[in-house]
Symmetry: C2
Subunit: 310 residues, 2 copies
C-alpha cells in the first residue's frame, strides 16, 4: 500500500511567486517552501493555486530542481504534473519521479469537454506506461469546477484494477462532500488515499478514513490546519474546524490566489509577492486594504512572515 512517508497529511498547493517581469521568483519560492516545511506542511507545488497551468514545463522543471538543490526533501513533494498534452505530462512526471518526489498530482487533460472515461483511462495509462517507473505514485486531481473534466468513481476503479500501488490516491476538489464520502467508502479500503481539496472538509475526511487535505489556505494558515490534523480525535476538534473555516471564509470573499499573495505581501513586507500572471489580476489597493483589515480583525498572523521576503 502506498505511503507518503514523513508527510503530515496537510499539503499546500504552493503559491508561485513572480518577479516584476512575471518570471518565477525562485528565491521567494524556496523561502515559501521552507516556511511551509517548518510547519510540517507537504508541498503540492504546481497546483491550481500555484498558477501551474500558467507556467511552462521548463519553468516547472527548473523550480523543482531549485527546491531539491536548496535541500527541500523530495519526500515532502507532490508536484502537479498533469497537462493537456500527454508528452508534457510524461516529461514533467518523469522529472518528479527522478527527483524522488513522494507522488505527483495529476489533472485530467482539460481542453476537450465531455470526453469519455475510456479516453481519460487511456490518458492516465499512457502517462503511467510512458513514465515506466515503479517509484511512480499518482494522485488523481478531481476538480470539476475548474477543469470541467471530472474523474468518475468508475474511472478510479478501473485505474486501481490496472495499476494497483501506482494509482495511490485523489485530491477531491469537487466541493461535493457526497463525492468525497463515496471515494472514502468505495476506494479507501483498497489503500487509496483520499485527500479533501479544502480544509473545510478536513475533519469529515479524517473521520471517514481519509488521508488529510491539500488546500489553498495551507499557504497562509498552515499552523492551525496542521494542528487539527494532529488533534482531530480530541474533544475540541469541531471547534478547531470552525476556526479554520472562519479564516478561510475571509480569503474566499476575494479572488483566492491574488488574496493569498496580497496577504503574504502585506505580512512579509515584500510587495513583489502580489504579482500574478495573466489571466489572473492582482487585488486592487482597495481590496488589499479591506483584506488586511478583515485579517487584522480576525487576529490572523503568519508566524515569522518576514522570512518570506525576497
Amino acid at each position: 500500500m502506498p505511503q507518503t512517508p514523513g508527510l503530515s497529511g496537510v499539503f499546500s498547493p504552493v503559491l508561485t511567486p513572480f518577479d516584476d517581469a512575471r518570471r518565477p521568483s525562485t528565491e521567494r519560492f524556496v523561502k515559501h517552501c521552507r516556511w511551509l516545511r517548518d510547519q510540517d506542511v507537504g508541498l503540492a507545488v504546481f497546483g491550481t493555486n500555484s498558477e501551474a497551468n500558467s507556467l511552462t514545463v521548463a519553468e516547472k522543471q527548473q523550480l523543482l530542481e531549485a527546491l531539491v538543490a536548496a535541500g527541500i526533501e523530495p519526500a515532502a513533494l507532490m508536484p502537479g504534473t498533469g497537462a493537456c498534452a500527454l508528452p508534457d505530462a510524461v516529461a514533467l512526471t518523469r522529472s518528479a519521479v527522478q527527483a524522488g518526489c513522494a507522488g505527483v498530482l495529476v489533472l485530467p487533460p482539460f481542453y476537450y469537454k465531455g470526453v469519455s472515461d475510456e479516453g481519460l483511462f487511456r490518458y492516465f495509462a499512457g502517462l503511467i506506461d510512458g513514465v515506466a517507473d515503479d517509484r511512480l505514485r499518482i494522485y488523481l486531481y478531481h476538480i470539476p469546477p475548474v477543469a470541467q473534466v471530472p474523474i468518475s468513481l468508475d474511472l478510479i476503479d478501473r485505474l486501481l484494477d490496472r495499476y494497483p500501488g501506482i494509482v495511490a490516491g485523489v485530491k477531491d476538489s469537487s466541493g461535493d462532500w457526497n463525492n468525497t464520502a463515496a471515494m472514502l467508502e468505495r476506494h479507501a479500503p483498497r489503500g487509496f488515499q483520499v485527500f479533501a481539496g479544502s480544509e473545510v472538509f478536513l475533519l469529515r475526511t479524517l473521520r471517514g478514513g481519509g488521508a488529510g487535505c491539500i488546500t489553498a489556505t495551507g499557504n497562509v494558515n498552515p499552523g492551525p490546519i496542521v494542528d487539527l490534523f494532529r488533534h482531530w480525535q480530541d474533544a475540541d476538534a469541531d471547534a478547531r474546524q470552525a476556526g479554520l473555516d472562519a479564516t478561510r471564509a475571509v480569503f474566499q470573499r476575494y479572488p483566492m490566489i491574488p488574496a493569498m499573495k496580497a496577504a503574504i505581501a502585506s505580512q512579509s513586507g515584500d510587495a513583489g509577492w502580489r504579482n500574478v500572471r495573466a489571466p489572473l489580476v492582482e487585488l486592487t489597493q482597495d481590496q488589499s486594504a479591506s483584506l488586511d483589515a478583515e485579517l487584522e480583525k480576525a487576529g490572523f498572523r503568519m508566524p515569522d512572515a518576514r522570512s518570506l521576503a525576497a
Copy 2:
C-alpha cells in the same frame, strides 16, 4: 487594414495525423495540407480539430517547420498559437511570425474559469508585446463551448483600440449567430475580419460583411465549401448552403474529430489516419461502418483521396 493575401476565405483547422505510437505523422500532415491547398483552403493548423492542445509546443514547431520545408506557402497558414502559459504562446507565435505565416489564431488561456476581461486583456497584450513584431496578425479564437472562457465584445473593442492592425480578426465558434452578427456590426467596420466557426454560418457571415469561415469539415468537404465562398452572390447560394449543411450533419452525428479521421482513413485506404491522442478515442468499427454507409448514401466522395495515404 490587415489582409490575408492569397487566401480564399475558407480555412480548415487541419487534422493532425498520428502514427501508431501516437506521434505526429509528418508525412500524412504534409500530404493533407497539400491536398487542402490544392482546393484553395487556408491552413488553420493547430486548432481545436487539430488536437492542438494535445501536442507539445515543440511538436507544433516541428510540424510547422516541416510544412514550410515542404513548400507550403506560409501566407496560407494561420496556426493556432494560444496556450494556458503565456510564455508558450509567445514562443509558438514568434515561430509562426518568423516563418511568415499570414496570421495566428489565439485561444484565451483556458484553465481558470470566470476570469476578468482585464486579465484576458493582459494576456493578449503580453503576447503582442512579447512577440514584438509588426508582422504579427492575431485572430482571436472565441469558442466558449470548449474553452469555457469567452472573448467578449468589449474585450475586442479594447484590443482594437490598443493594437489596431495587429488584432486582425476573430473566429467565432460560439455557435450563436447573434454573437457573430454583433461582431460584424460592431467590429467589422474597423477592418476586423470575422470568420464563422462553421460553414453552417458561412452564407450569413458573408452577407453580413464577414471574411469567410474556419471550419472542421473543411478537412473532408473542402470543395463545396470553397464553391459557396466563391459563388455566395449567385442565385443558387442558399441551395449550396443547404448542401453543405447536409454533409456536416452526417459528421455531427459522431464525435467530429474521430469521425473525420475515420472518413479519411476509409477514403484514402490508410487505416493509420484513424489514430487520435487521448483523451479522444477512435470511432468503433461499428461507428465507422455506419458513417461510411451514411456518407455513401449521401454521395460523399473526397477527390483524389488516395493521395492522403502515407
